[in-house]
């Protein structure tokens, strides 16, 4: 076995991958089921090794504004939270989008609404993908389905954020955050020097090194025409991301009779459902969106061609299903199956739902 393989929780993998990436700062506030991220970072003490700053903030509101500042300084900064905390961060998300700064924000979802439950959920899909804060903005939303992807998407998230000067978000759920799996962590990279940061991010607020003209990071623009031009620039970036960054995984979609579209831990459960179905001679394919925004609409439409129906199991009342329906233009029956309140369905339940909604309907 590869000696680099270790066993850890999804949340711990997030923390370790951040240190290995050469992150500059983490700012967060404890909330179940993701507190292990901050706990692991405090335990590792990266300020002693890489120089990474780790700070427990007084609230998610403070944390996201610390991230906003760090991102505005061109630093690789992040926060992690769970659903109620993510709601508190929406103002900051909107400001970061408006200021075109790169940051990584992680939501390990739990069941809501309200204080809800500490158990897994996927009910923040709308909030993440449709813009939970005010104004027209988007962020790249990555949905990990394994502890390995928790680790991998930290680096991917930051790379994309810096490439497009946008916010990347990892939308995981309590199941992926809490479960232990084998993982290979990325190699340790050095943190960028201040000179490298200023070279990579000439727009960043760093002090006027060499008395260059001042840099200002602001989301305010009172001239309507300039503000509209800003919005058009944001939208152009989003179109570019849609053209270049769609990611998804397909399993056995060629020649399948039914298609399941599922993300995160629901996709893992659906893999088992496919096995059970195969034993009964039912051919199911799986399409797993990895980027929830940009959504793999073309890929869904392609995989849907020729199938008798699509099941979209979600740990919610049905949110991603709206994007699936748009993708197939209602040419194929698209049915929802979901559990809520922190409940997670068994593979058998998903198969039953598929039979009921699509085969025996």
């Amino acid at each position: 076995m590869n000696d680099k393989v270790t066993l850890m929780k999804g949340n711990e993998a997030l923390a370790m991958a951040a240190i290995r990436y050469g992150a500059d700062g983490y700012f967060g506030y404890p909330i179940t089921p993701q507190s292990e991220v901050l706990e692991k970072l405090e335990e590792e003490m990266p300020w002693e090794t890489t120089g990474m700053v780790v700070l427990q903030a007084e609230s998610e509101v403070a944390a996201i504004n610390m991230v906003y500042a760090g991102a505005s300084c061109g630093k690789a900064v992040m926060t992690s939270t769970s659903s109620p905390g993510f709601s508190l961060m929406q103002e900051g998300m909107s400001y970061m989008a408006a200021s075109e700064v790169p940051a990584l924000v992680i939501n390990v979802m739990r069941g809501g609404p309200g204080l809800g439950t500490i158990h897994p959920s996927q009910a923040d899909y709308f909030q993440a993908c449709k813009g939970g804060g005010h104004g027209d903005y988007r962020m790249i939303v990555l949905a990990p389905a394994s502890v390995q992807e928790m680790a991998d998407f930290v680096g991917l998230g930051w790379d994309l954020a810096f490439k497009y000067r946008c916010v990347s978000m990892i939308l995981a759920d309590g199941l992926i955050g809490q479960m232990m799996e084998k993982v290979v962590l990325p190699e340790q990279r050095p943190r960028r020097t201040q000179e490298e940061v200023e070279k990579q991010c000439p727009w960043a607020v760093t002090g006027r090194t060499g008395m260059r003209p001042k840099n200002i990071i602001t989301s305010l623009e009172l001239d309507d025409d300039i503000m509209e031009a800003n919005n058009l620039r944001f939208q152009a970036t989003y179109r570019l991301i849609e053209a270049n960054e769609v990611r998804c995984e397909t399993v056995d979609t060629d020649g399948c009779d039914y298609l399941i579209v599922a993300f995160g831990s629901m996709a893992r459960i659906a893999m088992k459902t496919m096995e059970l179905a195969a034993q009964e001679g039912i051919k199911i394919g799986l399409l797993r969106p990895i980027t929830l925004w940009p959504f793999p609409s073309k890929e869904v439409a392609q995989a849907a061609a020729g199938v008798k129906g699509i099941l979209v199991p979600e740990l919610s009342a049905g949110q991603m299903i709206e994007d699936v329906k748009l993708a197939v233009d209602c040419k194929v029956p698209v049915k929802h199956f979901g559990r809520m309140g922190g409940n997670v369905p068994t593979p058998e339940e998903v198969l039953e739902a598929l039979k009921k909604e699509l085969i025996n309907a």
Partner: protein
């Protein structure tokens, strides 16, 4: 003597700080904000910190401070300036990081961040403009609005039973272990302007020496919000504001010895 004999460097007694941009300020005539901006620009210039200074502007009348002082700036969401300053200073400890905030920003919507940044002893300086009103949004009640003071949202005067009491926040901050210097100043007279400048300089130096958080409250006028001429506003401030918000140092760890 002709003018050219007089206009010589050796005769210069006053000049505009070079870090004050030539932009038209949007501040009302008589407003304290403009004077404090000049002091901040002067101190940064005199400390030779133009390349290292990072300001965090608030949501309030000073939102456009970044257009007037020629350094790098972050523009915070309403109340969050000290959180932004916290991260900025921690990520770049060799920079001079300060916030510039009104009473609504610092002592209402941002109270949580304000207290916790001070309590952590972040090595930042906070310039806190207490004009007892929300200037930017048209003169509504501020946390610092005096009892009996009329504003757009307490049009018959602030009443404790309806609106609570004026919040004097700096004495609270002086009690925190994280603060090293907490002072209350004003800028309505030449002597007070000089004192305020010395306070800002001390606050900035403290932050560079890693002594903890410094808070410089400037008891200020908002003649438009108060509906008083600049002269009357100064008078009203002396007669009413100073009783609730007396000037002077509330804490100076250094002078304690």
């Amino acid at each position: 003597m002709n003018n050219n004999d007089i206009i010589r460097p050796e005769n210069l007694v006053y000049k505009k700080p070079s870090l004050l941009n030539d932009a038209h300020m949007h501040y009302c005539p008589g407003c304290s904000h403009g004077v404090v901006h000049k002091l901040v620009a002067e101190v940064i210039e005199e400390m030779g910190m133009a390349e290292k200074a990072i300001g965090v502007s608030p949501v309030g009348c000073a939102v456009f401070a970044y257009n007037y002082i020629d350094i790098d700036w972050l523009e915070a969401a309403h109340g969050r300036a000290t959180a932004m300053a916290t991260a900025t200073k921690r990520l770049m400890p060799d920079k001079l990081v300060f916030t510039y905030q009104g009473d609504g920003d610092f002592a209402a919507i941002g109270t949580c961040e304000s207290i916790h940044s001070c309590n952590r002893g972040e090595n930042i300086a906070i310039i806190f403009i207490n004009n007892a009103i929300y200037g930017m949004t048209g003169g509504q009640m501020a946390p610092t609005t005096l009892l009996g003071q009329k504003t757009a949202t307490c049009p018959y005067g602030r009443r404790p039973d309806l609106n609570g009491y004026p919040l004097s926040i700096t004495p609270l901050l002086a009690q925190l272990d994280g603060t090293c210097y907490v002072t209350r100043q004003s800028v309505h007279k030449p002597a007070s302007v000089r004192k305020a400048k010395a306070a800002i300089r001390k606050a900035f130096e403290n932050s560079m020496q890693g002594k903890g958080t410094s808070v410089v409250e400037i008891v200020s006028t908002c003649n438009t919000g108060w509906k008083l001429s600049p002269e009357k506003a100064n008078q009203w401030m002396e007669e009413n504001m100073f009783a609730k918000y007396p000037l002077g140092d509330l804490k100076d760890v250094e002078s304690k010895g």
